[in-house]
């Protein structure tokens, strides 16, 4: 975890909640991007992102020192999203609606749910570099800096993450490695 993230978390744990605002601003884009990709609905994603940050704040003391805040946040966002889907399903069952419970996609918005799910299933060290690079819009160097790892380590992790994602998505042109 970067010193700045760690510093913000320590501040929060020491009774200064306003430090959490920095973490929200820093990570709202990756979390929103992830949730929009998976839920396909911007408004629902915004609600889930908000709920995720609030839950994260009250569970900051469970985040182990050294663990990545961004990867941990994605885990929380994923749980909130699944709860949202379950709640929606229950509501639809109660109302007798005959509509599918799968996430809907906003008009004009491409469906990235399969990709986002594959990202969410990556091991944490690969998920966090993808989240920062693509959902957070950071450069590789910035992601390495945020993760406090050398640039070479970040590029290797990115390379391995691509391999796993391609295998999970079975991209047609990809050569799946034989183990």
């Amino acid at each position: 975890m970067c010193h700045s993230d760690q510093h913000c978390i320590e501040e929060c744990l020491n009774g200064r909640p306003d430090a959490f605002r920095h973490l929200v601003v820093r990570y709202e884009r990756p979390i929103m991007s992830y949730l929009v990709s998976r839920m396909g609905d911007r408004e629902a994603a915004a609600e889930a992102a908000q709920e995720s940050f609030v839950r994260a704040y009250f569970r900051l003391n469970t985040l182990k020192k050294g663990d990545s805040f961004s990867s941990w946040m994605i885990g929380i966002a994923q749980r909130v999203m699944l709860e949202t889907f379950r709640r929606k399903r229950r509501e639809e069952n109660l109302s007798g609606a005959d509509t599918p419970v799968a996430p809907t996609t906003d008009v004009g918005m491409e469906d990235h749910s399969e990709l986002a799910e594959a990202v969410s299933r990556l091991p944490a060290i690969y998920r966090e570099v993808i989240v920062l690079r693509y959902f957070g819009g950071l450069s590789c160097a910035e992601a390495a800096d945020r993760l406090c790892v050398p640039l070479g380590t970040a590029t290797k992790r990115l390379s391995r993450a691509y391999r796993l994602l391609r295998a999970a998505l079975t991209l047609p042109d990809g050569q799946r490695s034989e183990a």
């Binding site: 959490f20 009250f58 693509y134 590029t155 391609r166």
Partner: protein, 441 residues
């Protein structure tokens, strides 16, 4: 630039992190190599999908609403806390304690998620990245003196060891009973038995048939391949925790992957690369490093343990002398077949004709002619055993992947009356382009 180097440079290339020279080398390789080019295109497609999925703009920051909700929730929590205190005062301490226990258990459950096989493998990949040296000892069912890669399911285990230095200069040594090979940074030598030697006057990464062991020692790559296979199967892998005698908890990951390549029947289960295997990996809980592995070969409805990594040391100091191999004075050197004055005659031979001509020369004890089909000079004992042989019959030549040559079934009667029945291995991927014996005698 080799494919592996290109592969390692692809992400830095895409991210514009390479200098002009390195970028030009990657670009040139991509233009020349269809495999790497398609790899690059596939990654490009993925990157485009990732970029598109991450292209979400934030119109209004969530910070105000999040902080408002945090403060409101905190206020509610404070009210609840006060209420709880009142309840305790009124004698409901038992109920409150039960609630507290429940809450604690819930939190504990939340915090101690089961570590998945993928997480364990990913951690082990990281722990084995950028190694300077690795020492690997395994026991393997193989015939002593036979090829390094030979598997023999009916044979007992023999030890196979690898010492490898990656940094600052690549050096390595591999030893199994009756066979040792070493590369000291300048040249590569191999000693088979006590007197047959092979020398390459250049450093090599994985010559002869040592590739499988070098690949096995590249722990990060091995585990990345397993991770990739797991990802393709939906991350469905068994993981168990075990405690050794010294109370060190270990993770045991069971990975099951079937060989998907089309393998020739004759060479099925003769090498790891031609076997259907189930692999079990064991990891150290504290360091996350791979500590051992077992490879089970699936054959005839049963499983046979064929290889076990019993020792794995990372970044140990290795003496340069470790990579020097002293050859005996009476060494018989392997010689690469060179073109003969009448090379065309041999070049035109079919596998069956080459086998026929080789055995006929042995039968006549014409060792000069025999030498045209071999890469070493036969010892006195080999000459005594093969001289005067008679061919009983030769079968139909066949091929079996991954061997690049041909097998010719034969039945011969030796001069002492013994009958030998086997498959003569012949290959012609040499500068002289004529068939030479590569095993099966």
């Amino acid at each position: 630039m080799k494919c592996q180097q290109c592969n390692e440079q692809l992400v830095p290339y895409e991210e514009c992190l390479l200098d002009d020279t390195a970028a030009a080398m990657v670009k040139a390789h991509l233009a020349d190599c269809p495999t790497c080019h398609s790899e690059w295109l596939a990654t490009q497609q993925l990157r485009e999908r990732l970029l598109a999925s991450g292209n979400v703009s934030i119109e209004k920051s969530l910070d105000v609403t999040v902080m408002d909700q945090i403060l409101r929730t905190q206020a509610v929590e404070i009210r609840r806390h006060k209420m709880r205190k009142r309840l305790l005062t009124f004698g409901f301490s038992g109920i409150a304690a039960a609630l507290l226990v429940g809450l604690t258990l819930a939190l504990r459950q939340d915090g101690s998620q089961t570590v998945s096989a993928a997480e364990i493998l990913a951690r082990a990949v990281e722990a084995a990245s950028d190694l300077k040296t690795v020492y690997l000892k395994c026991r393997m069912r193989t015939l002593p003196q036979d090829n390094f890669s030979n598997l023999d399911l009916d044979h007992d285990f023999v030890d196979v060891e690898l010492w490898k230095q990656y940094d600052p200069t690549l050096k390595w040594k591999i030893r199994k009973p009756g066979r040792v090979a070493a590369m000291n940074g300048q040249q590569t030598v191999m000693l088979i038995g006590s007197r047959i030697g092979t020398k390459l006057d250049k450093p090599t990464a994985m010559p002869f048939d040592t590739g499988w062991l070098h690949r096995l020692a590249a722990v990060d790559e091995v585990l990345t391949r397993e991770l990739t296979a797991i990802a393709a199967s939906g991350y469905d892998v068994k993981t168990t925790h075990e405690t050794r005698g010294d109370d060190v908890e270990q993770f045991r990951t069971v990975v099951e992957v079937e060989t998907s390549r089309k393998v020739g029947t004759y060479l099925k289960n003769k090498f790891l690369s031609t076997s259907d295997t189930r692999r079990v990996y064991v990891f150290d809980r504290d360091t996350g490093r791979l500590e051992g592995a077992k490879y089970y070969c699936k054959t005839d409805g049963k499983e046979v343990l064929v290889l076990e990594i019993v020792e794995l040391k990372y970044d140990v100091v290795m003496d340069d002398l470790e990579f020097e191999l002293e050859m005996p004075e009476n060494v018989v050197w392997y010689r690469e077949p060179q073109r003969l004055p009448d090379n065309e005659k041999y070049e035109k031979m079919t596998p069956a004709e080459a086998a026929q001509a080789f055995f006929a020369a042995c039968g006549r004890s014409d060792w000069e002619e025999v030498a045209k089909f071999t890469t070493i000079d036969f010892s006195a004992s080999s000459r005594k055993s093969l001289g005067g042989l008679k061919v009983i019959q030769l079968g139909e030549p066949f091929q079996s992947w991954p061997f690049a040559g041909w097998f010719v079934p034969y039945e011969i009667r030796m001069s002492n009356g013994d009958v030998r029945k086997h498959n003569l291995a012949l290959r012609k991927d040499n500068p002289a382009k004529r068939f030479v014996v590569d095993g099966g005698l």
